[in-house]
């Protein structure tokens, strides 16, 4: 991008003179409805044009990685889901998978199916909420309202399976905590129908909306050659033509037994990203149906690790990854032979999207597009700072 008209950057910092009257500095957040979650954007604008942006994170920092070093392996499993509030199951899965790999604990087949089911359901829920946010950030509250309501139906399903709406704490090292409740299939189908109806409506009113198109087309273009230097992942990269999808590239759980295609876009602007995600939502619904059809209904769903109060895991380190709605999510776990992990590093895809990439992309956009652009990168602050 031609940055010549923007303030000069010296040592990573823009040099602008606020007293000149040319520039106005605005803080978007942390107390601000225009940012996704509790984070802040330090924006410098000139007229309506953003000339410098700095992302400030850390408002949600709870020191998870430190806390996890202080807790037993089993005690960490309720903790990890809190790292990403809208889509906790990926965290639960990854933590369990990493611990299982390091300890050599086998997981029953049925548990893997149940895990995949919840993973896909949480993908769906997270995407629905994102869709609402994307519409809302451009001022279309109607779809936003519908979306959150429809997502709530999915949460009801989660509540029926796991006993929790937001924090499911369902995928535990060794398997899952329970099987599906009675009558779940019918409830699920009911909810999927509602979601499909919502998506049908949303497609008509949002994706065929003159104003929405006008706002999003051409906004925030990610070119393919930006993918690697900025570490772009997930739908953000796929909308730019990348075909990376962990579910396909290195299948985990039972994704190798499911049929689906990687959804790839071409325009890589905000509209195209939205389109890609929308198709991934449809794909999720399809996958859920597939899972329900071929999932085994009998058998064990939990392999007990050794007494969890004294469970020690031999020294080793591993990195496990899974595809979340924002892209590749990873857990790097180091064990030192004791009953507590030596180090758990959580790599959330928002980390690169919300800071390095967004700081770059925002420069030159209209200030009014900032919230929409941010949502179109689909970032969740808690996974940045953990």
């Amino acid at each position: 991008m031609d940055r010549s008209k923007f303030p000069e950057i010296v040592d990573g910092k823009s040099q602008y003179d606020l007293d000149s009257g040319r520039f106005v500095k605005i803080w978007n957040g942390p107390q601000h409805p225009g940012v996704t979650g509790n984070m802040a954007l330090e924006v410098v604008i000139s007229g309506d044009e953003v000339v410098d942006l700095k992302t400030h994170v850390g408002y949600l920092h709870r020191g998870f990685e430190k806390l996890m070093e202080q807790r037993l392996y089993i005690q960490n499993f309720p903790l990890v889901c809190r790292i990403c509030v809208p889509e906790p199951d990926t965290n639960e899965y990854l933590y369990a998978a990493a611990v299982e790999e390091l300890s050599g604990l086998e997981v029953p087949e049925r548990a893997q199916w149940l895990r995949t089911l919840t993973l896909e359901m949480s993908r769906l829920a997270s995407f629905i909420m994102w869709l609402g946010g994307q519409a809302g950030s451009f001022g279309m509250g109607t779809v936003g309202q519908w979306a959150v309501a429809v997502r709530d139906y999915v949460l009801d399903l989660f509540e029926a399976i796991t006993g929790g709406r937001i924090y499911h704490m369902y995928i535990t090292p060794g398997g899952v905590r329970d099987i599906l409740p009675e009558g779940f299939d019918a409830d699920l189908e009911d909810v999927l129908k509602k979601v499909e109806k919502f998506m049908h409506d949303a497609e008509i009113v949002l994706f065929h909306n003159a104003v929405f198109k006008k706002r999003t087309k051409g906004l925030g273009i990610i070119t393919p050659d930006m993918i690697d230097p900025y570490g772009i992942l997930g739908p953000n990269a796929r909308a730019a033509g990348s075909t990376r999808d962990v579910r396909k590239d290195s299948p985990y759980a039972v994704y190798d037994k499911l049929e689906f295609n990687v959804i790839v876009g071409s325009d890589s602007d905000a509209y195209d990203r939205a389109r890609c995600r929308f198709q991934e939502m449809q794909q999720s619904i399809e996958l859920i149906r597939q899972i329900m059809e071929i999932m085994p209904r009998k058998g064990s769903f939990y392999n007990r690790p050794p007494n969890v109060l004294h469970w020690q895991i031999p020294p080793g380190e591993t990195y496990v990854k899974a595809e979340s709605t924002r892209g590749e999510y990873g857990y790097y776990v180091v064990s030192d032979g004791s009953n507590k992990p030596r180090r758990v590093y959580v790599k959330g895809p928002s980390y690169t999207h919300a800071v390095a990439l967004f700081e770059q992309m925002a420069v030159g956009t209209n200030y009014a597009d900032l919230p929409g652009l941010m949502v179109s990168l689909h970032t969740y602050p808690p996974e940045i700072e953990r």
């Binding site: 605005i26 601000h32 409805p33 225009g34 309506d48 809302g136 001022g139 279309m140 200030y367 009014a368």
Partner: protein, 300 residues
């Protein structure tokens, strides 16, 4: 004696306009809520909000102009209303209409916004400043088709008195301006969309990036005043449009039906679209609506 009676009538008229404006607000919220798939606040919620705002105990200020903002705004709303004859032929609701009132009303419509701009600017919040900039730019943009439409109307009816324009439309439905001068009407209705600040022209108060725009810093009774003004101003705008384009009203029920229908126009559009950016909406207003306005003017 005459003045006292007039003042009393005016007072009644203002109260009715205020109550009706707020009620319309309440009803519209309810309707919008239905589209959202929810129940929505009670119809009387705007009234409670105003009481609540005035019940705030503490207040902060940013200088004299800051106080004047809402006062100007309120004066603008009030001024707009008091010079519009609300009900055709009614003594109580004829307000202070006179032969040149259309120009005065036009002036008052924008007076309030300008005053607000000054006050909000004094608040020191950058979001307010940005919003004011956007608001004024957008206002200028939609003012153009509106002004063109008014000029077209003035040419058509050869008068600047609202009462006269209303009187000219009393021959029946087909004599309403909307049928006699559809181009001017549509140009004005587009402007109304902008004036009502519903989507897609609500970038001025977009809560997503500039929290509420100009009134960001206002609270307590100042905010209450702004809310009160919203009641009167909505009434005034709608009555003006009703008078100019939809044949006015002979009594209060007709007034209510017509104004509500006009307001629904913004709502129908509003819930269906995201908002334009300021530059996009300016471009929009300078496009089709302005062309319509010019055409309307040319045809006359």
């Amino acid at each position: 004696m005459y003045i006292a009676t007039k003042a009393f009538y005016l007072f009644v008229s203002i109260i009715v306009a205020l109550v009706w404006g707020l009620t319309v607000n309440g009803i519209v919220r309810k309707i919008v809520a239905r589209v959202h798939g929810r129940i929505g606040p009670p119809v009387w919620q705007p009234f409670i909000d105003i009481i609540k705002s005035n019940a705030k105990r503490s207040m902060i200020a940013h200088g004299v102009m800051f106080y004047f903002g809402p006062v100007f705004r309120f004066a603008g709303g009030l001024g707009t209303y008091v010079f519009i004859p609300a009900v055709f032929g009614s003594v109580v609701f004829e307000n202070l209409s006179f032969s040149g009132d259309l120009l005065l009303v036009m002036y008052f419509i924008f007076f309030g916004q300008l005053g607000m701009a000054l006050g909000a600017g004094e608040g020191g919040h950058p979001a307010s400043a940005i919003a004011v900039g956007r608001g004024l730019a957008q206002m200028t943009a939609f003012e153009l088709p509106f002004a063109l439409s008014i000029i077209s109307l003035a040419t058509q009816y050869n008068t600047l008195s609202i009462t006269d324009i209303v009187a000219a439309q009393q021959a029946g439905v087909m004599s309403w301006t909307v049928f006699t001068n559809p181009l001017a009407t549509f140009a004005a209705l587009f402007a109304l969309l902008g004036m009502n600040m519903h989507s897609p022209f609500d970038i001025v108060i977009a809560p997503q990036e500039i929290p509420l725009g100009p009134p960001t810093e206002y609270q307590g009774s100042l905010l209450g005043m702004l809310h009160t003004n919203r009641g009167i101003f909505v009434s005034a705008k709608l009555i003006l449009f009703m008078n100019l384009y939809f044949g006015g009203a002979l009594n209060l029920p007709i007034l209510m039906v017509k104004t509500f229908a006009i307001y629904m126009l913004s709502v129908v559009v509003g819930v269906a679209f995201p908002r334009f950016r300021a530059d996009q909406s300016i471009r929009f207003f300078l496009g089709v609506p302005t062309v319509l306005g010019i055409l309307a003017l040319l045809i006359q």
